[in-house]
């Protein structure tokens, strides 16, 4: 592979016209030199070497292969696993983790980390719940005496609480998520603190806020279904069902609409198998596609990679590093806020203590998906695959009757193997 060379005659001419007083004599022999510059020898054609280079250039292949293999292996162990029911259970389980993993991917690409993503999700879901279901929003309705910070004012505004319609409540929740993400970004950029420390701190702060804001109370499913069924929308979807009684329904596709509880509480005793694809799963695919486009085909996406690769080089190349980083944390917060809507649909209720382990699960998914914790390289598709791989392991092991602590054990091993693989691939270029 010859990568560059130069016309031989040019060098001759150059050395002739150069001031002979100063040019070094040792360079005079250069015009006789081999003009094949930097031709790489490729004697190492072992299978491992070729595989390593292939995987370097196509990093998403690793999680894809791992996913394929694990599905096959679990399928061999337990044939139920290959049924549509089990696979749709996997997707259902990983939807929320998948969303958070998308947000986490953006941050890890910049060589950062966000430990507060789970807390942002929960705070956003509480905001949606309280504005659309329980307490509503205080809005001024007229003039009259008011209380302000403990003072009784004779003249002021009177407030009434209004329950917001679902779209407004969702928008408000997503906005709050964005603000929390932006706080992380500002602390990382303006206070120049390491992302790990910043988000470790905001994790505690947001966790405290969520307990204070919710008064440690959950919003029950029946209340959401009655007052704001739209919040549950992403839990619904398409169901593929096969009836036990062929005369009633054979194989059919059931599409549920807003507030239709049919899929939600589908009576599986009537059916041989039910596979559900929630709208949340479709939304996850759409968001992943959007982020893939943004990261690979826009300047912002290139800048995110460049900052993770080498922030100083990025700055010297004219990238506004601080501004881009703040935007990354803000977008991650917005995604977490949106994931809150998905999470409400998935769980059916809103609890301040839900999703405690989604932080680490998202990092696990990102790492297994092949994104490097050192920043600059990785892929959105990989993170979605990574989330699914974890889901496959958990579901596969539980179908095989393995206790749940061994499921955690397996997830932990996966992370270590994934990072070891990443390191091995990095060394390949040296």
């Amino acid at each position: 592979m010859r990568l560059y060379g130069h016309p031989g005659g040019r060098l001759q001419e150059m050395t002739d016209t150069a001031p002979t007083k100063t040019i070094s004599d040792f360079e005079a022999t250069l015009n006789k030199a081999d003009t094949a510059v930097a031709s790489f020898e490729r004697d190492d054609k072992s299978f491992i070497h070729i595989l390593r280079n292939f995987l370097r250039r196509n990093p998403t292949m690793i999680p894809a292969l791992v996913l394929l293999l694990s599905v096959l292996i679990f399928g061999l162990i337990e044939s139920r696993f290959l049924g549509m029911g089990a696979l749709s259970t996997v997707l259902k389980q990983v939807t929320v983790t998948g969303f958070i993993a998308l947000a986490q991917t953006l941050i890890i690409l910049t060589a950062g980390i966000d430990l507060s993503v789970g807390a942002i999700l929960v705070v956003s879901s509480l905001v949606m719940g309280s504005t659309a279901v329980t307490t509503g929003v205080p809005l001024p309705v007229g003039f009259g005496p008011m209380e302000l910070f403990g003072l009784s004012l004779p003249v002021g505004l009177t407030f009434d609480r209004f329950i917001l319609p679902v779209p407004l409540a969702v928008a408000f929740g997503v906005f709050v998520g964005g603000v929390m993400g932006m706080i992380n970004g500002l602390l990382v950029v303006k206070a120049k603190l390491p992302p790990f420390i910043v988000t470790l701190g905001t994790l505690s702060v947001f966790e405290a806020l969520k307990l204070w804001y919710s008064a440690s109370e959950s919003v029950r499913n029946v209340d959401i279904a009655e007052k704001a069924p739209g919040l549950l929308w992403f839990g619904e979807g398409i169901a593929f069902a096969k009836s036990k009684d062929p005369e009633v329904i054979d194989t059919g596709v059931v599409i549920t609409g807003f507030g239709d509880p049919r899929i939600y509480f589908m009576d599986t005793t009537e059916f041989l198998g039910v596979a559900q694809l929630s709208w949340g799963v479709f939304m996850l695919i759409i968001l992943a596609a959007v982020l893939w486009y943004v990261l690979n085909h826009t300047a912002w996406g290139r800048h995110v990679h460049a900052i993770g690769d080498d922030p100083d080089a990025a700055m010297l190349s004219g990238i506004r590093v601080g501004r881009t980083l703040i935007s990354v944390y803000t977008v991650a917060g917005l995604i977490c806020g949106f994931a809150a809507w998905i999470a409400i649909g998935r769980v059916g209720s809103i609890s301040p203590i839900a999703f405690a382990d989604v932080n680490l699960a998202s990092i696990t998914a990102v790492v297994i998906g092949g994104t490097s914790l050192f920043g600059g390289r990785g892929s959105i598709i990989g993170s979605v695959l990574g989330a699914i791989i974890v889901g496959v392991f958990i579901t596969g092991l539980s179908l095989a009757g393995v206790d749940d602590y061994w499921q955690k054990f397996a997830a932990g091993c996966l992370v270590i193997i994934a990072v070891a693989l990443d390191q091995w691939l990095r060394r390949a270029s040296q």
Binding site: E27, T298, W300
Partner: protein, 265 residues
């Protein structure tokens, strides 16, 4: 000292730049002049403050005091982006490239082209085709290398090839001034030769060049004038035809003082 400077206006000039890092004075009243169409070498001992001055010229360091004039007009760089917008391109010693990105993406980092129409204006889609063609054209135009694959990541290139890409980037976009910080330091004999050749090509196209180097033979070979930096400021500017390399080294290390210059402190 250069007496023939005053006839033409310097293209890039600094007056009395000061920069302090805590108690360390990196620039103390630093003056500098780059004339149109010349190759100006900047030499100086380690810690003389060359890098700080260069970074001030390329926008990476903001001076505490003093002014920078481009074409005689004062300019204030708040970031490298500002300097680049005015046509000052810098090849940093560490090359300032993003290893995982492709050659074309690196060349256009921070000034990506977008496709025409709604796809570009609303969906911000980069025009990869145009960027890759431009990058390939520039690299082959400069004769530095024939790259097989413009989409290969920069980390797969050798040190000399990376240098080539960095220099090509500066040459392609530097409309006013190109600054090269130790461009041959990491290179072998043959690659150094190519880079020196490229520097001359650039001058032939009318772009003035600032060359920072520790390599005296290279400096004396290509430079029109040599700016000698010492203790945070300009000690003198010499014509390489009038002095020897050992004179220059003696000046920059303080072993000898050029005529007519008295050194404070």
């Amino acid at each position: 000292m250069s007496a023939e400077v005053n006839a033409v206006q310097p293209i890039l000039q600094t007056k009395g730049l000061m920069k302090r890092y805590g108690t360390v004075v990196a620039m103390s009243g630093c003056d500098f002049e780059l004339m149109p169409g010349e190759i100006l070498a900047v030499i100086g001992d380690n810690g003389a403050g060359k890098s700080t001055m260069i970074k001030a010229l390329s926008g990476a360091v903001i001076p505490d005091h003093g002014e920078i004039l481009l074409d005689g007009k004062p300019v204030h760089f708040r970031s490298p982006d500002d300097a680049r917008a005015l046509g000052i391109e810098t090849v940093y010693q560490n090359l300032a490239m993003s290893p995982a990105l492709s050659i074309a993406d690196n060349m256009f980092l921070g000034r990506e082209l977008r496709v025409p129409g709604i796809l570009g204006s609303v969906f911000r889609k980069m025009d990869r085709t145009r960027m890759e063609k431009f990058a390939r054209d520039k690299l082959s135009e400069l004769g530095l290398m024939t790259i097989q694959d413009i989409t290969q990541p920069v980390e797969t290139l050798s040190g000399g090839q990376r240098q080539g890409v960095a220099v090509a980037r500066a040459a392609a976009f530097g409309s006013k001034v190109v600054i090269l910080d130790e461009p041959t330091a990491a290179l072998g004999v043959k690659e150094s030769r190519l880079v020196l050749e490229l520097i001359r090509d650039l001058r032939a196209r009318g772009i003035p060049i600032i060359l920072i180097s520790h390599n005296m033979p290279h400096v004396f070979e290509v430079a029109d004038r040599i700016h000698i930096h010492r203790l945070g400021r300009r000690l003198c500017v010499i014509n390489p035809k009038d002095y020897t390399m050992s004179d220059a080294v003696a000046f920059m290390t303080g072993a000898k003082l050029p005529e007519g210059v008295t050194e404070a402190a």
